[in-house]
Amino acid sequence: MKKLSARRRHPLAALVVLLLALACTGGLYAVFAPADKAQADETAQSLTIEEGKKLYTVGCASCHGTGGQGTSDGPSLVGVGAAAVDFQVSTGRMPAATSQGAQVPRKKNIYSQAEIDQLAAYIASLGAGPAVPTEEQYGPEGADAAKGGELFRNNCAQCHNFTGKGGALTHGKYAPSLEGVAPKHIYEAMLTGPQNMPSFPDTTLSEQNKKDVIAYLNAVNGDETESPGGLSLGGLGPVSEGLFAWVFGLGALIAVAVWVAARTAKAKKS
């Protein structure tokens, strides 16, 4: 105890206490936070609209209405299609918290793929809409990443940044980073236009175009993407690069100059 009390005035003591406090808070939150809903068993269930409707009534109806007609808390789901359901639920955006901020964030998905398929089947039965894309549509075969880059810069880069790092919009809304987003979900987002993102239907951005865009993102923002120039600094462009050069580059030069001048070369006894 004496040892501990002797060290409490150490310059790093505050930092240590802060880290301990943060660790405790995080641990307690993890223990007491509402546990994820029980996963339905993965046994092969037939994808019936009835099953989907049951899930819908439990998880979605409070905001989107008993028949998907929409309420003041959530938009109508008639005609949004299975692709929209698959995107929103698989990325954890739906169901949303009752009081969300400017934008519903991506979070942990609480449904199994079988359940999502059932939900999607039910929503698709309410009105015709885009279907969930197949592996063949978003896979890398036959894709042209260079063309995809052209399309991405023309259609997507204004919000998502040149390499899909995301960016800010108005009133706290933002275009999320596309890093680590499954190709299927990117395809679905282009097709359906979730939240404030405009949609890019097949009539204006063809299936081949979408495939190219996904191939481009995988080339510049995938797991194996190289950064030949070294630190990419978030890929945010000249702002972060300039800030880094001014703060760390110039800062290092000033620090060296001060260090050189502060050390006297004189043979004084001190």
Binding site: L169, S199, P201, T203, T204, G230, A267
Partner: protein, 352 residues
């Protein structure tokens, strides 16, 4: 460098301090110039072994620089340009870039560090006062210059031979005109170029992605599409100049949600065609939020409400985005019903 091993008689206290004799202020002269403080030697000045060590450090730094330069050349020759390595904490990086940068940086740094260390420890560091001499020249020098000038003026006979004088003035006065004439190349003025774009009545709206003319059914509510005028191809010589003015952003909004009456009239079934060029300083503006119908400019955050005639609702832009009047031709394709009715892009002096 520690001063532990310096012989006692070599310490500054034992040195001759006569050169830095300090005058003190007294009654007569309260602001006496204290002069330079006494010179203090460095370890290297009084200890030959320390000086030798410094010499070796400087030589070592210069040698490292030489090796780094050799390394630079060797990396350039041996490392393939597409080789990639993983270096913590940078990640995957081109091996060649990394090697060239490191060796070049090391070579330059060692030259600088060696020079600084050399100057600080081995070169003479005696303080020298170099007094300024008076700016005015000596009287005899001045007199000589004035005499020379008068003699020169007399010998040139500039005052007497008026023809030479006048023609010389003429030549000197006319010469700068050639420079003035070259300023013509700053022109010609843009004329009406800023007021017109490639859009005209009957031009089809061509999808930038597919290069196909657009039909109203291609655009669903909530979608965003970019269009160029029919006939303009990306490999055209004038493509950049023309698309910079003609770039078009197409959105589709439920007609009931369109607040501006003129905007609704100029749209087709809720399809609105706006200029993509911000009216502030001309950035391409297409950060479109389909739920709020706001378009945001990435440069200075000007925000336009596309459901309300692209009115500016935030930011420095001075005008709403110009809207293009569109309709559908006999074959069912979207077409322009004329050019923009006002200049697109930022305001300019004569815009009105």
């Amino acid at each position: 460098m520690s001063s532990q091993d310096i012989p006692e008689e070599n310490l500054p206290a034992a040195q001759d301090t006569s050169q830095g004799a300090v005058k003190l202020a007294d009654e007569q002269n309260p602001f006496a110039d204290p002069g330079l403080p006494p010179h203090e030697p460095r370890v290297q000045d009084i200890d030959e072994r320390a000086a030798k060590r410094s010499e070796r450090v400087v030589a070592l730094l210069f040698t490292v620089s030489m090796l780094a330069t050799v390394g630079f050349i060797a990396s350039y020759v041996t490392i393939p340009v597409d080789k990639s390595v993983f270096i913590w904490p940078i990640g995957h990086i081109s091996a060649l870039n990394f090697a060239l940068g490191m060796t070049l940086g090391l070579a330059l740094f060692c030259i600088g560090a060696g020079a600084v260390h050399w100057a600080r420890t081995l070169m003479s560091d005696h303080e020298l006062a170099d007094e300024r001499h008076p700016i005015e020249a000596a009287p005899e020098t001045r007199a000589k210059v004035m005499d020379d000038f008068r003699q020169g003026a007399k010998e040139s006979a500039l005052g007497r031979r008026k023809l030479i004088r006048n023609t010389m003035f003429g030549a000197l006065a006319l010469f700068p005109l050639s420079g003035v004439v070259l300023l013509r190349d700053l022109g010609p003025l843009p004329g009406t170029k800023l007021r017109h774009t490639l859009w005209s009545k009957g031009k089809l709206l061509v999808n930038m992605n597919t290069n196909e003319p657009l039909r109203p059914s291609d655009l669903v509510v909530g979608s965003l599409t970019f269009a160029k005028p029919e006939g303009l191809e990306e490999h055209d010589h004038e493509f950049q100049t023309e698309i910079a003015k003609a770039a078009l952003m197409l959105v589709r909004i439920q007609p009931d949600d369109i607040k501006d009456k003129r905007s609704l009239e100029w749209s087709h079934e809720g399809i609105l065609a706006y200029s993509k060029i911000c009216t502030h300083v001309g950035c391409p503006i297409s950060l479109y939020e389909q739920q709020t119908h706001h378009a945001l400019c990435p440069c200075h955050q000007s925000t336009f409400d596309l459901s309300d005639g692209a009115k500016v609702i935030f930011g420095p832009a001075g005008h709403p985005l110009p809207q293009l009047r569109i309709g559908v031709n006999d074959e069912g394709y979207l077409e322009a019903l004329g050019d923009f009715d006002e200049p697109v892009g930022p305001a300019f002096w004569e815009r009105g």
